[in-house]
């Protein structure tokens, strides 16, 4: 886990004109940012582009960053807003869901042949990913930020521009839904 003091220090140095301080922030968060974007887009090329765009926007806006949230939350907020701007087209969203459902049907056929418990580990991981994709946007964002990016409720609230209670409620709804969707794998 990154040291928040060190982030603030890097931000300060950048504001004082040390451009290379920004490289330090990129190095620190590129893996997290990329993994997060990969989870949102499901596509390596898009994830690379989205995470790069996020850092470029952060670079341009960093001088006006007021430090009211942590750099990390702020970066996620930029990423999520850029993702939403791109994903505005519902068509793309629909295509994604069609692809998810097709994968699901294929797997059900396989599972029918072998029985659900015999799914290979990587297939099970795909099933879980696909079920997560079926969640409504806000629930999926909260879950991913919490579970895979390791943000706490306050950090998520800050990243998504919502309240602690919104985070709590959406995370809880996401879990309820996934419990239902994954019940055959939960034993």
């Amino acid at each position: 886990m990154a040291d928040p003091m060190a982030d603030a220090e890097l931000v300060l140095r950048f504001k004082q004109g040390q451009e290379e301080a920004f490289d330090g922030l990129v190095r620190r968060y590129m893996k997290d940012a990329y993994a997060f974007c990969l989870r949102l887009t499901g596509n390596a090329a898009e994830a690379e582009e989205l995470s790069q765009d996020g850092f470029v926007s952060a670079y341009r806006a960093l001088r006006s960053f007021r430090g009211e949230s942590s750099f990390k939350s702020w970066l996620y907020r930029i990423l999520i807003n850029q993702y939403r701007d791109r994903a505005r087209s519902r068509r793309r969203e629909e295509l994604r869901l069609v692809a998810v459902r097709a994968g699901e049907e294929r797997r059900q056929e396989l599972a029918g042949e072998r029985g659900a418990s015999e799914l290979h580990a990587d297939e099970l991981s795909d099933v879980v990913k696909e079920k997560i994709e079926l969640l409504p946007d806000r629930q999926r964002e909260v879950l991913v930020l919490h579970l895979y990016q390791g943000l706490d409720y306050h950090e998520i609230a800050s990243a998504l521009g919502c309240t602690y209670d919104d985070v709590k409620m959406n995370l809880s709804l996401a879990r309820k839904r996934l419990k239902e969707l994954l019940k055959e794998y939960l034993g």
Partner: protein, 307 residues
Amino acid sequence: MSCDDIRARLEEYFDRELSDADAARVKSHVADCADCARELSELDRLEGLLRRAAVDSAPRDGFVDRVRDRARRRPGGWHAWLPLSLAAAVTFAIIASHLFAPGAPYDLESALRDISSPDAAARTRAEAWTRAHGDEVALALVKALSDVHVERQKSAGLLIARLSGDLQSRILAQQPAVQEEWELAPIGSDISDIELVGYAVGLARSEKTADEALRILKKLDRGGTNREAHEEIVRQVGELFASGQEAQITTGFRIVEGLRLLVEDVVEFLDVPELGDRALEFLRGQTGRDFGKDKDAWRRYFRSREM
């Protein structure tokens, strides 16, 4: 604490969000309660399953270099080919020659710069120039409203806001000619977005410019995702309602109706004596439901609609 109280906090306990004291209370309850213990273990099993889908991947090598190259590339053609320091020197030379050359022409760029100046004389000059030349530069002004640099958006907004209603309308009528989407400042520097809210609410007061104002407010609100701007819009609408003046209240409802997402915020006005009846009438009209002035019932209704 009852099981219901514990259940309401069980996920926070599991996620280590509770204070030590609250966590200890949940822990001791779970030790004695089979149902809550089962719930907790289900959470744990689900978490274990979900973690199987963790992505352990990194971007391609050279990511930092690619970001650095893109971030530091100066927008606009030939600038990109110059070393940074040289580009800065050339830019400065251009600005300096423009500023200090005797008789340098005063143009829209000058007005956009001066309207945000702390110097009152410069602002007056910018206003006077725009009043005289507004029609000539209408398209450029409207384009500046959509500029990628929020400072330019703000300056254009300030210039337009200070013009007479007729000239404002003529300028904003150029809007369809501008095809580009609005591009706001990146989230995180939204202080400028907030300043634009005041300008847009100002425009919403006039019938002629109300549509344009709503378009801008919708962009600023970004479907409720830009929380700071959203809160500022709600605050300003609240002020319009609180003014007690019919025209301002009408503007307030016009904004609420146009932004749809703000509809539920009207619930907060149900118990304001001068506004309650009108707020209720508005909510009934927008939703087709009627929960009287029961704010909790309205809130529950809006929450259930979000699901």
